[in-house]
Structures are given as structure tokens and as C-alpha cells.
């Protein structure tokens, strides 16, 4: 595909990898906070191209993985009501709540009779609501800055079209507050950040500048092809070596410093910051988005006065530590034994973009034979 294949050119990849080998010195840790980066790094074998001084670690960048189990329980309670059709992105389908038994995920609830449907766009959920005026269609609103404007635009369309049987279960989050929390966490050690490319399309490369300024973190916005990621690692090494942390935009074909202001305005029209719980990180102030009063009729949790049950993590699961990069999947006692892609326990194994799923798929000696 154009604007993808050229950035996978083997000769350019080799050139950039050689350049990194030439520039690497002391050990550095670089974090990526986007599940799509996590997958791209594994799929393109980026780790194997790098000198051993450079360690790549994953942060809390998969929206499915950071959704607390209590919120999943909330989705499941709702799915069991016969008047409701749950619509969701496919990623959320198999994520377990805090219960046990076969009905402990949206896929499980569906096999027990709940009406759960996968949609590609929130707009598809709105279309379904118009086709099924006697049912309540609820869209499971998870995602970061990239996805939230699409949900906000759908809510605006629902409002204008006066669709009364459409609503969302708001669980969207923003990237800035958890990154700040990570930088303040004494257990977390990171020298450079691969800033999430598609979050940056909306938020702008400048939205990460506070990390360079306040926490001395080297930042580079990266795309998702191998040359994009290697180029970003090169500029991170230069920032780290010269002791001049800043934000470099290495994904200029898609990202500007300012971002997509129109999309942000649409998000801000519908949503307002709220405190939000992150799996493994706890409650982070102003890290989520709730619907503004003007659009509260589209919030199923306020329409039905739902309370979110407290979250309980499965025993032994270290997803919380993995999301903070303080341990790797093989450090978890469940990884590859009780917890596998076929029967996942923690969210990092469930989501196809989760760190554990990626490790299991690409780093498993058995899987390579």
C-alpha cells in the first residue's frame, strides 16, 4: 500500500539500523505507549535489529488493557438486559471481567444470549439504533485521543438526528495524565518515549512537550513502519546523548506539531475531563472523559443510574506491573502457563495489541518452530 510499503524498504531499514549501532553508547530504555507500536515492533523484528544497550519497553498504551475489570463488569451487567444491544470494537469482546465462568466477557455473555455486536465505527452503532427503534443500542466507548473524536462526532449526529435509543458507556481516556504519573513513579525508569503516532495526529506532537520540559524525557513521535520506528529511535538516542530532551516529529506525513484542532474541538464540545481508573495504575485525576451535561442523555450510566463495581484483579496476574513497564511478561507466574492467548487471564494477553499477547506470539520459542 502506498505510503506504507516505501517505509518498509529493506535497504532503508538496514541503513537506519546501522546508524543506530553506530550511535549507541550507554544503556537506554525507550518506552512505547501505543499498542499498535508494540505490535509493529514485534512484527518487524525491531528488537533484533538493535544493539543490546537499547531496551524497548511497553507502557499503558492499549485502551482495552487499561480498562479496569469493574468497568468490564459494568458492560456485562448491561449486556444481560434484554432490551439492550451492545455494540463494541472487536478488541473488547474477549476481555474478562472480575467474575468467573463462561459468561465473564462480552463474547461469553453473547453465547449466553446477550445481544452483542461488533462494529467497525461508532457511526455503525448509530445506524443500527435507527434501524432498531424499539431497542436501546449502547456503544462501548473505549479509546484514546485518536478514537474519541469519532465517538464525539457520532454523539453530535445522534443529537441532531434526535435518536433517543442510542447511547454510549463512556470509558475513554487521555494519554497525558498517565504519562505524567509514570514519570513521577519512582519504580519506572525510562530515558526516551516513542510518542504514539495516531494519538499525535489529533493531539499534536506539541502535546508531549511537557514531558521533555518538566521531566527531561526525550520524545519522538513515530509512525508504524520499520523506518518510522528506527528513525525515531535514532533521534531519541541523539537527544539522550546530548542531554537536550525535546519533541521531534518523525511522522511528519501524518502529524503536525499542533494536531487536528477541528477533531479536538468536536471532542471538547461533547466530553469533559473526569478522574478515571486505570488498570494497574489506579485512579488518575482528569485522565478520562465523561459526557458534558448537555449530552448526558447519551450516557447510559447516568440514564440508568448505573454504579461501576470496584475492580478486582485475578490472583497472580501482573498486568498492572507490565503496563507500568516494571516487569516483562515472562516475569509473570501466569504467562504462558495459566494465561495464554487461547485462555487469557489478564487484559495484556486478551487484547491482540497487549504486551503479553505480542510476547507470546513473537517471542515464544515454541511458536517460532
Amino acid at each position: 500500500m502506498k505510503y506504507m510499503d516505501e517505509f518498509r524498504d529493506r535497504r532503508l531499514v538496514t541503513t537506519l539500523a546501522r546508524q543506530i549501532h553506530g550511535e549507541a553508547g550507554r544503556p537506554v530504555r525507550i518506552m512505547e505507549v501505543c499498542g499498535t507500536h508494540t505490535m509493529a515492533i514485534f512484527r518487524h523484528g525491531i528488537r533484533a535489529m538493535l544493539p543490546e544497550e537499547i531496551e524497548l519497553v511497553s507502557g499503558p498504551g492499549c485502551p482495552v488493557c487499561v480498562t479496569p475489570s469493574g468497568v468490564i463488569d459494568g458492560f456485562l451487567d448491561l449486556a444481560r438486559r434484554p432490551e439492550i444491544i451492545i455494540t463494541t470494537f472487536g478488541d473488547m469482546l474477549r476481555v474478562p471481567g472480575s467474575g468467573t465462568g463462561p459468561g465473564n466477557s462480552l463474547a461469553g455473555a453473547r453465547s449466553e444470549g446477550a445481544d452483542v455486536r461488533i462494529v467497525y465505527s461508532p457511526m455503525d452503532a448509530l445506524t443500527l439504533a435507527r434501524q432498531e427503534p424499539d431497542r436501546e443500542v449502547v456503544f462501548i466507548a473505549v479509546g484514546f485521543e485518536t478514537t474519541t473524536p469519532t465517538i464525539a462526532a457520532t454523539i453530535l449526529a445522534a443529537d441532531e438526528l434526535q435518536v433517543e435509543n442510542f447511547s454510549v458507556f463512556p470509558a475513554v481516556k487521555t494519554m497525558g495524565p498517565p504519562l505524567k504519573a509514570l514519570m513521577r513513579d519512582p519504580e519506572v525508569r525510562v530515558d526516551g518515549l516513542l510518542c504514539p503516532g495516531h494519538v499525535s495526529i489529533i493531539a499534536g506532537a506539541d502535546s508531549f512537550r511537557f514531558l521533555a520540559r518538566e521531566y527531561g524525557l526525550a520524545c519522538a513521535v513515530a509512525g508504524f513502519e520499520p523506518t518510522d520506528i528506527l528513525l525515531a529511535i535514532t533521534v531519541l538516542l541523539r537527544q539522550i546523548d546530548s542531554g537536550t530532551p525535546t519533541v521531534d516529529n518523525c511522522y511528519g506525513r501524518a502529524v503536525t506539531m499542533e494536531g487536528n484542532r477541528k477533531a479536538r474541538q468536536i471532542t471538547e464540545k461533547v466530553f469533559t475531563p473526569v478522574d478515571s481508573e486505570w488498570r494497574g495504575m489506579g485512579l488518575i485525576p482528569k485522565s478520562g472523559l465523561g459526557l458534558r451535561d448537555q449530552y448526558k442523555q447519551f450516557d447510559i450510566t447516568s440514564r440508568l443510574n448505573l454504579t461501576i463495581p470496584p475492580s478486582r484483579e485475578p490472583g497472580g496476574c501482573r498486568c498492572g506491573d507490565i503496563l507500568r513497564s516494571i516487569c516483562s511478561p515472562p516475569d509473570c507466574p501466569l504467562f504462558g502457563r495459566a494465561c495464554t492467548p487461547a485462555s487469557p487471564i489478564g487484559p495484556c494477553m486478551v487484547s491482540s495489541e497487549g504486551t503479553c499477547a505480542a510476547w507470546h506470539k513473537y517471542n515464544n520459542p515454541e511458536a517460532l518452530t
Partner: protein
């Protein structure tokens, strides 16, 4: 989940009524065609432009000039390295 891919505009449809018939783009990548909403982009794309698509919406127009400059710089670097290799066998 923030997967987004560049797709080429092959047709602009609708626009007669912002509510009931909003402007949409038909986009193509390797023969896969999709209809996407244009609510989030700040300029009306032209046929032939590349849009970055996420969850049924165009979230940005791709900057083709920037992509070419970026590629040209990397190719230059690759040439330079190849020349250096040639000089020091």
C-alpha cells in the same frame, strides 16, 4: 486499537444535506474500498488525496510532500553508506 491507515480518495459523495446526506469520501487501498465520514478533517479532500482512516472517519489528510522529503533523506543516507562501504572494502 489506534490502527489507522492511509487510503486514497476515489470519489466524494453526498453533501446535499449536512444532516441526512453528509459529505463522505469513498477511499481505496489495494482494492479495498470504504466509505468514510469527513466530519473530523479541516479541509475538503480532493480525489487522489490520501486520507488517514480510523474507525470509519478520516482523521487527517496525509502530507504527501512531507512523505517524499522523508523518503528522499533516508535514500540519500543509504546511498552515502553504500559509497562509504565501497571506499573501504
Amino acid at each position: 486499537m489506534c490502527l489507522a491507515i492511509p487510503m486514497r480518495v476515489v470519489e466524494i459523495q453526498g453533501g446535499k444535506d449536512p444532516l441526512l446526506d453528509p459529505e463522505r469520501a469513498i477511499v481505496d487501498a489495494d482494492g479495498l474500498r470504504k466509505e468514510v465520514r469527513l466530519d473530523l478533517v479541516d479541509r475538503r479532500p480532493q480525489v487522489g488525496d490520501y486520507l488517514i482512516i480510523h474507525a470509519g472517519f478520516a482523521i487527517n489528510c496525509l502530507d504527501a510532500e512531507n512523505a517524499e522529503i522523508n523518503l528522499a533523506l533516508m535514500r540519500e543516507l543509504a546511498e552515502e553508506m553504500a559509497r562509504e562501504d565501497g571506499e573501504t572494502p
